[in-house]
């Protein structure tokens, strides 16, 4: 089964290149990186990279699809079992934290990417907005949350988180925005949207 072996090897090389590209993008930025930087980091020739991804855009799209998919899946796993808003916010941040350098690049650069990669960005947001909207609906219904349209509750939250990530060099030069500010952002967002302060005080 020569063909199968060759196909397997090709698949493994491709996956290794995607992994390297993910790491280089995380570190130096997506649009800033050339195909030759990835070849060099992976220890292969330019030709090898081009054999797997014909253009820079195809490579970027594939990396964003692969790792965006992983982020979305992880977010879905973490947020799926959350009952309350505070839990879902923490789960959202826990998911981001596992991919923070790359996620931050997407926050900054997603608008510049090709439509296919930009669509992945929306899918990543959908993986959290799906669970967020369900929980928000319940919390508004039960009077625990102020009654704003779901998308505004969501956008106020992601706007806050993404602002800190986009400007991470100013907020956390050491490179760990979520670790340093995550809890503070959750606590204060909850203060903004909660209605029943006395109950919250008793619950600690």
């Amino acid at each position: 089964m020569k063909t199968t072996n060759r196909q397997l090897q090709k698949k493994q090389t491709k996956e290794a290149l995607l992994r390297t590209a993910y790491e280089v993008f995380s570190e130096r930025g997506i649009m800033n990186t050339r195909m030759s930087d990835i070849a060099q980091a992976a220890g292969v020739s330019h030709g090898t990279v081009f054999a797997h991804f014909q253009t820079q855009e195809m490579l970027i799209t594939k990396v964003v699809e692969t790792y965006g998919g992983k982020i979305a899946l992880r977010t879905h796993e973490l947020a799926g079992s959350c009952e309350h808003m505070k839990e879902i916010l923490s789960a959202h941040l826990a998911g981001i934290m596992e991919f923070e350098p790359f996620y931050t690049r997407l926050v900054i650069e997603n608008r510049l990417l090709a439509p296919a990669a930009r669509d992945v960005w929306v899918s990543v947001q959908s993986s959290i907005s799906f669970h967020f909207s369900q929980v928000a609906g319940r919390e508004i219904q039960s009077g625990r949350s102020i009654n704003l349209p779901t998308h505004l509750l969501f956008n106020i939250w992601v706007g806050l988180v993404h602002y800190y990530l986009a400007n991470g060099d100013l907020f956390a030069p050491e490179g760990n925005v979520i670790k340093r500010y995550g809890e503070t952002l959750v606590e204060n967002y909850m203060k903004l949207i909660q209605t029943d302060h006395r109950t919250r005080g008793r619950q600690g």
Binding site: G80, D119, V122, Q125, S133, L152, F154
Partner: protein, 84 residues
């Protein structure tokens, strides 16, 4: 782990399936109340509505994203032709 052929959602527990039927290849959110799978027009409208309701996107922008995103899923391959 199966993922829904119609929307891509991972299906990990019985309640993710229509009528808890784990033999199905599509999820509860892609099913009609009787358990059958929603048609393409139904799913396209539902996805567009979801993006507007949960993320506040512009109606036309949401519609285009929904078309492109669904076209990548096994149930709807080739459905994007009308936007090329």
């Amino acid at each position: 782990m199966k993922t829904c052929i119609s929307c891509g959602m991972p299906m990990t527990k019985p309640s993710d399936y229509p009528l808890a039927d784990e033999s199905k290849d599509y999820c509860i959110y892609c099913a009609r109340p009787d358990g059958s799978m929603q048609s393409y027009p139904e799913k396209l409208e539902g996805t567009t509505e979801f993006l507007i309701r949960t993320q506040g996107l512009d109606k036309e922008a949401a519609h285009q994203i929904a078309i492109r995103t669904l076209s990548k899923l096994p149930a709807w391959k080739g459905k994007e032709n009308n936007i090329e």
